[in-house]
Subunit: 339 residues, 2 copies
DNA sequence: TTGAAAGCGATACCAG
DNA sequence: CTGGTATCGCTTTCAA
């Protein structure tokens, strides 16, 4: 078998030669609105198909750069996939981008010291814009990205300095809805377990929860925070909670991962019956629906979040402006299960 | 506040002008091996930093394309993130790529009819190579990618036609090790639950399992297969298994997601004590370690898989050849937990 | 070591 | 509708 050398790339000139037309004609054949005779186009496309020719997106972006960015590259900036909520989110995002004919360039600045490099890559590759999953990123990293001035949209957290648009779930509503559920079950001693104290989402959910409870005459519940949003943290926090406040009869966790951990801790302590204790999470990750858990939770409207984020990003790219940022808070959906 | 227009991109010419040198000099300043006076370089770099200049990777790749591909873009081709094993895998891959100064371009061909488009994008963007997570992809999709002739490495499944290298966990060893565990516990009526019957990984694990059992005098165990590798499928399959073979005393599942589903089904049926029943999974997803599950499993050597895959891909890119493909099977690691 | 000039692949403008 | 030509930003000969 002969060592199949990879053939040099087919260029517009090759196609032009074989089709007996000019390079311009080839270009036009691939431009939908271009004025070209249908027959010519068809013939060019036929030859192109035969040769396996596709316009070089890199070269195209180069010449089009006169009229604004056009690489078709959108950076997706994410931290670790440590929360089971993120993969789902991420795949939705990628597919939505693909549907638009754009390409997702993944940037994970959490590898040691790679933030700097990641930033430079964004510039080097002429990304048109960035979707920043700020919920999974340190505030510093988020800030560094925004300083770039590249059109961007924040997902899951707003920019404290209000420089760019942010799309997020209405976290206060999440907390309030959780409180309503607790109240509707007649609980008197609810508690809250959150993530990092500096996490916007966690804090807002906590506030919504507490304020609604207080407005109904329940004292400020015990609140624990954690270094992260993991199962393990939820497990540990719940154990501590039961130790310090054994009479707790309802628990709202800032995310499902925490809640699932908490549920297992409650189980260990024999505190699982929904008629004596209620547990609520937030996100609606797949595991929440597993028969072993059946976690009551507030679902984030993933599809809506993604679509809105892309909409805003595209607008921002098109207008070339960074001003007039908006903050969109989308309503969560209450999903009642066994807990 | 004035409408902060995004400034036109800084080019090499801008830097050249301000530094009082030629464009060539600027280029050389950014080329490590170039022959340029250290002072000149330093001065250029200083001005560049000041202006926030970075060489346009797209333009660079264009001119360098004479000497072979150089976009720095590596396609990562994946199906859905339906299995909790994939995100971890994926993030490792991305970070490893970043560490090499390359960029991960994500391609998810599972959105309806997007396979075709995804392929075209790969060509258009001059990707240097592709890592194909074939385990999460339909064989047809995998095949279509390979037909492109782009250097590629398969992850999690080998190419039936042997055109490219494949890196995967030694799946027979997985099955054998599972069988050893079952035997060591003195079980007599084991069973197997797999994924799609056409899935290479699932099939090989099954074979390793069965053959080892038979070599020790145990009859061919009942084997169920499923439409996918999900928790739900594992749950349903285990229920059916208990119905059809109520005397089963050990169960090996092709992946952890299936195994976790099975465990919950077993639990419902009161068949969970490790002294009467053993359950084994494969992958070692985070949930397997949760207190509520404590699943005994065979861990895939993720880091090794990723590193090997990249090594092979880079070699294949460098040599520009598609021949001499290898198949690497890496040993799994037995992780004993409560099940 | 340096600058001038050619060219990578494609598109847009301008005559025809 | 069509073909020539300038240009995008950069690297790379080639002389100096």
């Amino acid at each position: 078998m002969k060592p199949k050398q990879r053939p040099r790339n087919v260029t517009a000139s090759d196609v032009a030669r074989l089709a007996g037309v000019s390079r311009s004609a080839v270009s036009r054949a691939f431009t939908p609105e271009a004025s070209i005779h249908p027959d010519t186009r068809e013939q060019v496309l036929a030859i192109a198909r035969e040769l396996g020719y596709r316009p070089n997106a890199l070269a195209r972006s180069l010449v089009k750069s006169k009229q604004g960015p056009s690489s078709g590259l959108i950076a997706v900036v994410m931290g670790e996939f440590d929360n089971p909520f993120q993969p789902h989110f991420f795949s939705q995002l990628t597919q939505a981008l693909q549907a638009q004919g754009r390409v997702a360039m993944l940037v994970m600045p959490d590898a040691q010291g790679s933030l700097e490099e990641a930033l430079e890559r964004l510039i080097a590759y002429q990304v048109e814009g960035a979707i920043v999953a700020a919920g999974s990123l340190s505030p510093e990293a988020t800030d560094a990205f925004l300083a770039l001035g590249t059109p961007a949209v924040l997902l899951g957290r707003e920019d404290p300095r209000g420089r760019v648009s942010a799309i997020l779930t209405d976290n206060r509503a999440v907390g309030e809805r959780a409180a309503d559920y607790v109240l509707s079950r007649g609980r008197q001693r609810p508690a809250f377990i959150g993530g990092r104290a500096d996490g916007q989402a966690s804090r807002e959910r906590q506030q919504g929860f507490i304020e609604r409870l207080q407005s109904k005459g329940i004292d400020a519940p015990p609140c624990l925070s954690n270094p992260d949003y993991s199962y393990a943290s939820g497990f540990a926090a719940a154990q501590q909670l039961l130790r310090d406040h054994p009479d707790t009869d309802a628990l709202f966790c800032a995310c499902d991962a925490l809640a699932l951990g908490a549920m297992d801790a409650l189980r260990d302590a024999g505190r699982t019956s929904p008629s004596h204790f209620n547990l609520i999470g937030c996100d609606d990750v797949p595991q929440a629906a597993w028969p072993g858990y059946q976690l009551t939770t507030l679902a984030q409207p993933v599809e809506l979040l993604v679509n809105q984020a892309l909409d805003h990003l595209m607008t921002s790219i098109a207008s070339g402006r960074t001003d007039a940022p908006e903050v969109l808070r989308l309503a969560p959906e209450f999903v009642q299960r066994r807990s």
